[in-house]
Subunit: 195 residues, 2 copies
């Protein structure tokens, strides 16, 4: 049925893992086959400089995905596989499946800064239902952070120095802005999917 080593590799390499990077890589490769170096530049661009990821993370991740059978190495030229030539990766059918699965399962780590950013980058092709769940989860998450900051600020007069207070105020503003933005997005989603 299944080759033991592949199954074990799959379980070992991708099940315990939150896999934000893996998700991002699958998402990028779903659009077109790319090589590692280029993938990193795409990540920087598409995640808006929020997150860089070093090559020390990138290449091992590509290897894990390959071992799991989610992507394959499209050896650019036949014949001589030149030791340090670029390796173009292509997503497999299982990779696409897994990508959709990961989006559908989107849980708590899809609403932290990093996970949310990655999920958002592929929103155009995400089902409305999943989009809503992520947006609402993110909103809850940001609202919680906002409340934490508010309560910290409320106790601020006494203990906290004015510099920290101002920084917290900046953070609070940012939270409020994001919540407003999320509210708009969620309203739009409802309008578009509703009637």
């Amino acid at each position: 049925m299944y080759r033991f080593d592949i199954v074990v590799g799959y379980i070992a390499s991708l099940s315990g893992r939150s896999g934000v990077l893996e998700l991002a890589l699958l998402g990028l490769l779903r659009e077109a086959p790319v090589h590692g170096y280029e993938l990193r530049k795409q990540l920087v661009l598409r995640l808006g400089g929020l997150r860089a990821y070093s090559y020390g993370s990138l290449y091992p991740a590509l290897r894990r995905l390959t071992r799991a059978g989610l992507i394959v190495e499209e050896s650019g030229q036949m014949g001589q596989p030149a030791k340090r030539a670029r390796k173009v990766y292509r997503i497999t059918a299982e990779g696409k499946e897994r990508f959709d699965e990961m989006r559908a399962e989107a849980g708590p780590h899809a609403w932290d800064d990093e996970g949310f950013g990655v999920h958002l980058a592929f929103f155009a092709s995400t089902p409305t239902e999943t989009r809503m769940r992520i947006l609402e989860g993110r909103r809850r998450c940001v609202e919680e952070r906002r409340e934490g900051m508010r309560s910290a600020l409320a106790k601020a007069g006494e203990q906290i120095d004015r510099y920290t207070r101002q920084l917290q105020q900046l953070g609070l503003d940012a939270c409020e802005r994001e919540v407003r933005w999320l509210n708009e997005l969620i309203e739009n989603e409802k309008k578009e999917s509703g009637p």
Copy 2:
């Protein structure tokens, strides 16, 4: 001159380390002796919910600081040291020295989100010179992030989907706000220290 084990302990436990948590702990303990559990609550409050730190980080950190001789365990009651009683820690003279040293040396990791937040929390007792260095470093850092986002947004029309673009716009706004705030702080510092 120095006891070998203490010196080794010191080098081993605090030299290779960026030590944001250690800095925060020393800073809090400089104000008053506190026990671990309480320190964590203080961290949440003082860092404005930006950073929580689990006990799995906190207690080992306290142990490292103790081994390095920067803090000491003030066994609350004499006599029976009750297995799981609270341990109140007090900062030592060396601890205070080290705290000032760490602030004075404030380098690149004092201007990332976390490090900056911690340094700011103790700004009231930070020398003007150090304050300026940290504020200007932070400004440079945020300006860089801002430029990264701007250039990502500039290329946005083509590749990036509108959701990500909007998120990047939020991030860009936040950067701009912070830079403006930092500019004000820096101007004030100059006025106060100048004439």
